[in-house]
């Protein structure tokens, strides 16, 4: 149903998740969701649910690894941490994103085209 939406999000969602895990270390799903909401000042209307299939996909790709552990309030939670190939992916994704942003910026700022 909401497939189109998640498809669009997939690319950037992975980038956000990987960056969060890189800076904050191992984190559970809810923690990641909250962090995204905080970082985007709740501007991005994220259906928290869409996060989980994305996480599974990233696990399948080998970018994150998982481990069950205790949460801050002593509940069993699944923790995600970034792997080596996840870091590599993050680096190349980030570079991609910057290049893309630079290109888009030229169009947004028409004065520079000539």
């Amino acid at each position: 149903m909401s497939k189109d939406k998640t498809d669009v999000l997939h690319g950037s969602l992975a980038l956000m998740v990987l960056r969060i895990l890189e800076t904050l270390g191992p984190l559970h799903g809810w923690g990641i969701a909250r962090r995204i909401e905080q970082m985007t000042d709740n501007v991005l209307e994220l259906n928290q649910g869409t996060l989980y299939p994305a996480l599974l996909r990233m696990e399948q790709m080998g970018w994150v690894s998982t481990k069950w552990g205790e949460s801050e309030n002593n509940r069993r939670a699944k923790f995600y941490s970034i792997t080596r190939s996840g870091r590599k992916q993050l680096a190349s994704e980030a570079a991609n994103w910057e290049r893309m942003a630079a290109i888009i910026a030229r169009f947004v700022n028409p004065g520079e085209i000539s």
Partner: protein
Amino acid sequence: MTSLRVLLSRLVNLLRRGRMETDLDRELRFHLQMETDRLLQTGMTPEDARSAALKRFGGLAQTKEIYRATGGLPSIETILQDVHHAARSLRKQPGFTAIAILTLAVGIGANTAIYTVLDATMLRSLPFREPNRLMRISLVTPSRSDVPINDDSVWSYPKYELFRKLQQSFEDTALYRPGTFNLTGADDPELLQGELVSASYFPLLGIRAEIGRTFFPSEDETPGKDFVAVISHSLWVDRFGADPAIAGKTIVLNQRNVQRNYMVVGVMPAGFRALGGPADVWVPVHTDAARQLNEANLHSFEQVARLKPGVSIARAKAEVASLGPRIDDAFPGPAFAKGYGAKARTLDEARVDPLIRTSVLVLFGAVTLVLLIACANLANLLLARGSTRRREIAIRFAVGATKSRIVRYLLTESLLLAGLGAGASLALAYAGVFALNLINPVNGSTVTFGRRLSGLTILGLGSIHLDSRALFFTLAVALVTGVLFGLAPAFAGARTDVNDALKNGSARTSGIASFASKSLLVIAEVSLTMVLLAGAGLTLKSFERLIATRSGVDPENVLTVRVAFQGTRSQQFFDQLDRRVAALPGVLSAGLSDCPVLAGGCSSTSVGFPDRPPVPEDAAPLNIGVHWASPDYFKTMKIPLIRGRWFAASDRADSPKVVIIGETAARRYWPGEDPIGKPIALGCCGFGDKDGAVVIGIVGDVRFGQLDEPPQPDAYVSSLQSLNGMMLFVRAASNPLALTDAVRAEIHALDKDRPVYDVKSMRQRIADSTARARFIAILLPTFAAIAFALAGIGIYGVMSYMVRQRIREIGIRMALGARSQDVRSMVVLRAARLAAAGIVIGLAGALGAARVLGTLLYDVKPSDPRTYLLISALLVVLAALASYLPARRASKVDPCVTLRSE
């Protein structure tokens, strides 16, 4: 690399599916608790916090669905699930399922059965090394006013030799010519079908001997020097007890009345069939007499060649065509024998008689139409079913199924149906193949040595069977069918509006649009049926005319037996034979002639008239069929004498030569004259210019060629004055086949070394001669009948659906005073209108399709108006009948009940 990793992880998940589910549940529960806790701290009540958390999460069920889709193997897992659901839903409606499977079984079964014929005649590759590099090289006969051009004619040895020397396109070329051999020895004499072949024949085909060797080139260089033979596997087993030391042994063969010892040098592998049909013995071409090989205008050999690597078929064809005139120029000859060309075609093009090819293709087209009609019916059934299932589908949507998932589920159902139908169709196809073998169009011609169908049909047919290729075909058809009839209903299902369907529940809303699509399906069905009916009608009419055509003889209770001509003292033998057989109990009369009716391939020769001015040297000779008949032959076959007299026992070798002619010959060669007593000269058999032959009688015409060919001019000479290969005709008082043993014994009492073969009743021979026409005259109407029935079911289904949909409207009409007969005619007229639309569209298609049929029709025009009128009427009647029951149901509607019920 990554995708492999994903696949592995998915496979692991599939194996520990339960574990994945509980993990996911725990993880999501944890998430919701954390979110709820967080919201509680903002001052919400527990209930509000809980529902806000759920809302922020988005659809829990959808998430799980997507998660499962990502985690598991959707292809395997959901398919199993879909198949399971589909099977359950099909079981719930056994009536619907049975009709669907039966429809499919008929449609697919007919396709598989005809596919086996197509495969055997055209598709299966020929059993030679690289068969697609093999080509058949033919001569093209000169254009003449009285004889049509034959572009697949045979070679003379000198022309072949020249061709072989000039050509650049082929690695090698080979010659072959069918012949009959009388094998004598310790056992009963046996007449063998064989081939004279060039030494290059076996290497070119890529066939090695199973035992021993094939021919050395040196054994095929000098006429009448080396008498060597290769024999078939079955002859080796049956006649020589699979003797491992057969190579080097001697056998006695009689060919063209010359008896010789041949040394066996090799045995062919089992199952090898020669290019000229089944054969048991092969000898080199040069065992033939020198005069057979030196005469440039004695055409009797067929030629096959293997392309050089890198040479295209088109280039080879062009080269052969350009060599034609050069070869023709190289040999002197009378003007009428000049102007030959040459033509090459691939062995695949040449393998099947063009008429049989057309028949098989027409039938394949017909079964495809039947299958399409079956698909239309099923699509209709599924659409009707779909509208009653909107609730079920809406619920699936509501609990998180995606559109593609619904389409996949509905398609799975269609494919499951198609699979079940295909399974059931195999039983039908098996029966069909059995029946096809019984009416195999080449059955008749595999045994007649005199004539064969053109092409290499015999190679393929006779081996129609269900094999792995046919099974694969069935599978493919089932798949295509399932998608074809399932796609529209599946997408219609996926368009279901959840709210609307759940609120209304009934099937009311989608009515108009889907009735339109159903009407279109009915129109399509009727028009396809029209095409099939037209084909069937024309074929039946043509066949009816064919079998009503008189052959010119009375075939009732006649036994026909071939007696080998090869032998000693033939004249005495045959002189006594018919008299001795006529004396057998149960025999009314017996006669001899060289050639049966309707078999083709009888001898013909030139005819001249010594009492007229001589024709110029260069003029093409006039042709006449020539037959050697004993005095009692005409009486035995009941050929009527029109004028003059019969042959008499007194017309002997030393008395004046006498000739009887047929009516067509009398009309054509003596227009406005009385031929009786006129001199005649034949180009054969000692009846030349100076022999003083005279016409003594005129008999009724006999069709020696085929039933659908008009009688040709024919002449008969007395077997007491001249002799050729002979056949015995016996008129019995009752069942002629019962006389077989007595006749055989009588023949062997006269000469124990003379094989008797090809024993058949005259009725059987006539049936054989119409085998091809009957093949299509049985099958096409059968398929048309199936299509007709399916179209009837289709119309019935749609009209019932319409009545159900419009029951309210009908109720209102009746409340307003419509009489039940108005309602009835409304429904029937509606059906008739659909049928009429189908007929109009079908007419265009039918006229087009009939043109393809044209070459198969006898005495019927493809546009025969009466046929089209009749089948149009039939279809209208069908529509009226099929809609009558729904119409009656509509007219029984009680306005009070229907109006209250909604």
